[in-house]
Symmetry: C2
Subunit: 243 residues, 2 copies
DNA sequence: AACAAAAATCTGTCTTGACAACTTTACAGA
DNA sequence: TCTGTAAAGTTGTCAAGACAGATTTTTGTT
């Protein structure tokens, strides 16, 4: 039973109680937990209070809900080395994970205005979007901008299944000399949320990465939206990492 | 006014409306927005629905609430280069940010059991915890484990204000040869939440980092809990990064 | 003008209740 | 035994209301 006299709110006590039960293995991944009305009756609290507790566990990645069906325990995320791999597709396969990456839409070329808040502002860029799925669940969305001057004719290439970093190295003889990436926690809406199949309540790791080349500073900019609820994303340190 | 006929729920419409107003500068950082009862009256919806909308904006880092006082627009986070710096303290100062790091408790030495799920399992380690604040707000909590064999006598040194990476290089002649770090979104409870002054609803970037040395594989393990709502944490790529 | 107390207002927690949208289960008929 | 429909049960959204804890504003007194 919950303790109404406790300084810890009831919804919080329930969330901790359920989280402990999940971590202790009382509910297996994929298993349905008792319904909201059932939990309300069992713990003697209102359904909105139960929902508040479950809301927190959903956000923490322990539970997922399906309207009309119930609330289920989630699988633990697998780990993928992302921030140090030579092309997402190739390294996904190397790590024995069934991943599929594919382009969304066409590669387009356009000019970024001078005043635009973008590291490649003032230049012509190739823009492309790529989505990676694991077992048909989206896990990574990449939005890429490449300096058109560094990658001439890129829009005429068949990029399906291609490693961009391999392409950069082998076709354009480009190896990054340095760069910078920043890490953010984001909540997606609109098209990005739809592509990753998440609600605006789901915390997403967004990594903004800018690569420099000996031939041109700030030649490649990318935004990576990572579903850390699906995968653990890691980076190998030592030696240079690039996209 | 909100549109009750819209497929978008009312709380979601309000959240989007308020987010747009904040981003458009209608409310300046630090400014108080209309109270919950006031918003309920203005938009003709219930206070629980207003709270649901505000909950989402608080989680997204746009708003913060103070009981009895009101709901305020938050400052945008500043950027700090963390995952490529030679010791947090030194690089904070180099980047002109008023940061203070200090040890929580003493350096302790103990042995990790062989079967323990820890990269340094089976060894004696020095364990220490460090908290970094900016303008008296905690932004980074580090929990560090160092192989005691690589860092003899570490517990007898005065580590206050010290760069650990400089210490490793200059006193112990240790430079990392490689490593790995993984990125997680976490929700803290208990002591960690108290130290970072966050609620269990706040999404935290947790980075687990393991460094290898020529002298010893897996010599240094650290967990970094980053308040991305306070700072943008970034990494410089190229050349080797180490703690 | 300054200070203390009371009142008002704010957010935080919780309840009961209702209805919508969706899924699952039970039942009737072929 | 199979299929279709109704009933039951689930989550999602929303409302009104109450009270607690904290802060701010107003009022009264000196």
């Amino acid at each position: 039973m919950l303790d109404p006299q406790s300084p810890t709110p009831l919804y919080h006590q329930l969330a901790e109680r359920l989280a402990a039960a999940i971590r202790a293995g009382e509910f297996a991944p994929g298993e349905r937990i008792p319904s909201e009305p059932r939990l309300a009756a069992e713990y003697g609290i209102g359904r909105p209070t139960v929902r508040q507790a479950l809301d927190a566990l959903v956000r923490q990645g322990l539970l997922s809900r399906r309207r009309g069906s119930g609330t289920y325990v989630r699988e633990a995320p697998k780990e993928i080395d992302l921030f140090s791999l030579d092309g997402t597709g190739a390294s996904f396969r190397k790590q024995g994970l069934a991943m599929e990456s594919h382009l969304l839409g066409e590669v387009t070329r356009h000019r970024l205005a001078d005043g635009e808040r973008h590291p490649l502002a003032g230049r012509d860029v190739f823009t492309l979007t790529r989505l990676t799925r694991s077992e048909s669940t989206p896990v990574l969305l990449e939005e890429l901008d490449l300096d058109a001057g560094l990658f001439p004719g890129l829009d005429r290439l068949d990029l399906a299944g291609q490693s961009l970093s391999a392409l950069a190295a082998e076709r354009y003889f480009l190896r990054p000399s340095g760069g910078r990436q920043s890490f953010h926690i984001d909540y997606l809406t609109g098209e990005r949320a739809a592509r990753l199949e998440v609600s605006s309540e789901t915390a997403i790791l967004r990594v903004e990465r800018l690569l420099h080349f000996p031939q041109r500073e700030a030649g490649f900019f990318s935004r990576l939206y990572c579903r850390t609820d699906q995968f653990v994303f890691s980076q190998t340190l030592g030696g240079f990492e690039h996209a």
